[in-house]
């Protein structure tokens, strides 16, 4: 007959055995059960710590609720977890704005950086670089800026995203060749480009077989010139060379009646229409080019893109020609805009000519070492690219859980209960 103490002892041993079996069963179940998602609310939790935990414990399924687009490091970490066999689902506690910013070198002199920004959802966006604020779009939208200097990366920030970009290349800009007859249009075109920072070579016809030249002159090829500006039809002798240059990747601007000259007719985006006069006095108005006369681009080719029209008539058109670009500019007295326009006309005339040349210029890109932080030009698009589209998650995500800790505790519990049961048995003399 067992004493009361002995019975209690044996009951305890059975209980420890049961506990050990239960812990082993739990461990077995945890090993073979279907994956259960773990998640984190980044608004209230620490996503970085959760990522570290998930990585160490090889969490098979993860879900994240963002309140803003994650930074590239977090996004790439999640992408790596997903690629490593896990399942990552995400959603947003509020709509993340689809936004993008891109900074790239403009094919213009003086290191101009062109920044393009677009943002949806009507969210206010501030644009800044390392030196401070650049611009603000109170209701989002799109904007293009040309910045003379940019300190570090350009950052566009809204309530739900921060997009960054920087110009990763610089352009190689060779001189521009200006050809035409001596006259105010050639003089002021050369002046506008030079004042804007372009290196200009020119060959200006003054008399039969007499040209006034400046700058580096040589054969017309992309190794020597970024663009060729032909202002009239006096350069017929060089037209075949110019056409070859365009096909090889060069940029050509045909001004006024220039497409009438020899091989240039074949590369022009359209034909030269009958001359039209400008509107008297309009060069000093808000639409100064309506005051300029010129030769409209008539019958634009199927591959031509009309860039500017006036009263339904194309005044500027462009086309691609093999590797190069050709632009036909109907205006032939833009100098009047500069001389007789409003207070800002000289600067506007310079900028306009520079943009035309930049639009066609052959400007090879050279990567540059920056040492800047990784770019994140379109945070939402990159997030979708990395993790797929957002998936609705019912209810709030669970609090951060630690599967490894539970497993560890179950193991300790198993060992402790088995050890306790064995010790008890041996102390009472049983095997």
């Amino acid at each position: 007959m067992l004493s009361r103490a002995e019975r209690v002892r044996r009951t305890g041993e059975q209980a420890l055995r049961l506990i050990a079996f239960a812990a082993i069963a739990a461990l077995l179940w945890r090993a073979i059960r279907p994956p259960i998602a773990t998640g984190v609310d980044v608004a209230g939790g620490d996503l970085r710590r959760a990522l570290a935990r998930w990585t160490l414990s090889a969490t098979p399924a993860m879900r994240v609720v963002f309140d803003a687009a994650p930074d590239p490091g977090t996004r790439d970490w999640l992408r790596a977890l997903a690629r490593a066999g896990g399942s990552v689902r995400w959603s947003a506690s509020r709509p993340i704005s689809a936004a993008a910013v891109v900074a790239e070198p403009a094919a213009e002199p003086n290191g101009v950086t062109r920044v393009r920004l677009a943002s949806a959802n009507g969210e206010a966006v501030s644009l800044a670089d390392g030196a401070g604020a650049i611009d603000t779009l109170p209701r989002g939208g799109a904007r293009e800026l040309e910045l003379g200097t940019v300190a570090g990366a350009v950052r566009a920030a809204g309530a739900t995203f921060t997009a960054t970009s920087y110009a990763r290349e610089s352009v190689v800009l060779r001189p521009v060749l200006v050809l035409g007859a001596a006259g105010w249009e050639s003089k002021f075109t050369i002046a506008a480009l030079e004042e804007r920072g372009w290196r200009v070579a020119s060959r200006v016809r003054v008399a039969p077989n007499i040209d006034v030249t400046q700058g580096p002159l040589g054969s017309i090829d992309t190794a020597r010139y970024a663009a060729v500006v032909v202002l009239d039809s006096t350069v017929a002798a060089s037209s075949s060379e110019i056409a070859r240059y365009a096909r090889a990747g060069g940029g050509v601007i045909l001004g006024g009646s220039a497409p009438r000259g020899g091989a240039l007719t074949g590369i022009a985006p359209g034909r030269v229409g009958p001359r039209v006069a400008g509107v008297a006095g309009a060069v000093a108005s808000g639409a100064p080019r309506t005051g300029l006369g010129g030769y409209p681009v008539s019958s634009p080719g199927a591959d031509a893109v009309v860039l500017e029209s006036r009263d339904g008539v194309a005044m500027i058109a462009a086309r691609r020609l093999d590797a190069g670009r050709v632009m036909q500019v109907g205006y032939d007295e833009t100098w009047r805009w500069r001389m007789a326009g409003g207070d800002e006309s000289a600067a506007a005339h310079r900028a306009w000519w520079s943009r035309l040349v930049a639009a066609v210029a052959y400007a090879p890109l050279v990567p540059r070492e920056s040492g800047l932080t990784p770019i994140d030009e379109a945070p939402l698009a990159s997030l979708v690219d990395a993790l797929g589209p957002s998936a609705p998650i019912d209810g709030r995500p669970t609090a951060p859980t630690d599967g490894a800790r539970i497993t560890r505790m179950l193991f300790i519990l198993t060992v402790a209960s088995l050890l306790g049961e064995w010790t008890s048995r041996r102390l009472r003399g049983a095997r």
Partner: protein, 218 residues
């Protein structure tokens, strides 16, 4: 002198691509002291170049907005020059936008009234004048003048200030001439009927062609 006409009739506006030689009309002084110079330079330009040049010149008031239709303007006179505020403002805008004013001292007298006042006024309107190097591209824009500005018979004969001026003066905008100033009295040197060129061993208006070609190409 009061200017009765401050704006040109439209018929005198330059045609597209056409060069019109313009003479500046200003309120003070005698702006029309060299009436034969335009015709003579137009004749030379037509002789030596293929530039489309208007057969007659134009007269444009410095105070008029029409000034901006003529990016090269010739100004001369004997008498003291005092620009009005409008003339001064227009001249500054003209230079800033790329126009070129060619000023010739028709007086070229000792301590001349035109020279002193014109230089003072031009300095106020456009900026200080300084010596133009004799290697400047204007001396090789069409004809070659390796020694700088050609001398005039008035200088060589010892008339006026009894000096042979070795340099022209200029006010610059960037690397371009905004005001070209001469003490050499080209207004007298070139002030004859173009038909009389045939009596000259060397055409003395060639430097005038250089000035116009420079203005049209640089």
């Amino acid at each position: 002198m009061n200017s009765p006409h401050l704006s040109l009739p439209r018929s005198r506006f330059p045609l597209p691509g056409e060069f019109v030689f313009a003479t500046a009309q200003y309120e003070s002084g005698d702006w029309d002291s060299a009436p034969l110079v335009p015709a003579n330079l137009i004749d030379s330009l037509a002789r030596y170049t293929s530039l489309p040049v208007a057969p007659t010149g134009a007269i444009v008031a410095l105070a008029s907005d029409d000034l901006f239709r003529f990016p090269l303007v010739f100004l001369t006179g004997h008498l003291p020059v005092r620009f009005t505020d409008v003339e001064r403002t227009n001249l500054r805008r003209f230079a800033d936008r790329g126009g070129m004013l060619f000023v010739d001292d028709h007086n070229h007298d000792i301590d001349g009234a035109f020279h002193k006042t014109a230089v003072e006024e031009l300095t106020r309107a456009v900026g200080p004048l300084s010596q133009l190097p004799n290697t400047h591209p204007i001396y090789s824009a069409f004809f070659k003048f390796p020694d700088g500005p050609p001398n005039t018979s008035h200088e060589l004969n010892g008339w006026g200030d009894n000096l042979v001026h070795s340099h022209l003066l200029a006010a610059m905008r960037g690397n371009r001439i905004a005001v070209l100033y001469s003490n050499k009295d080209y207004s007298s040197e070139w002030g004859y009927h173009p038909d009389n060129k045939r009596f000259l061993a060397i055409d003395n208006t060639k430097f005038g062609v250089n000035i116009i070609v420079y203005a049209l190409t640089r």
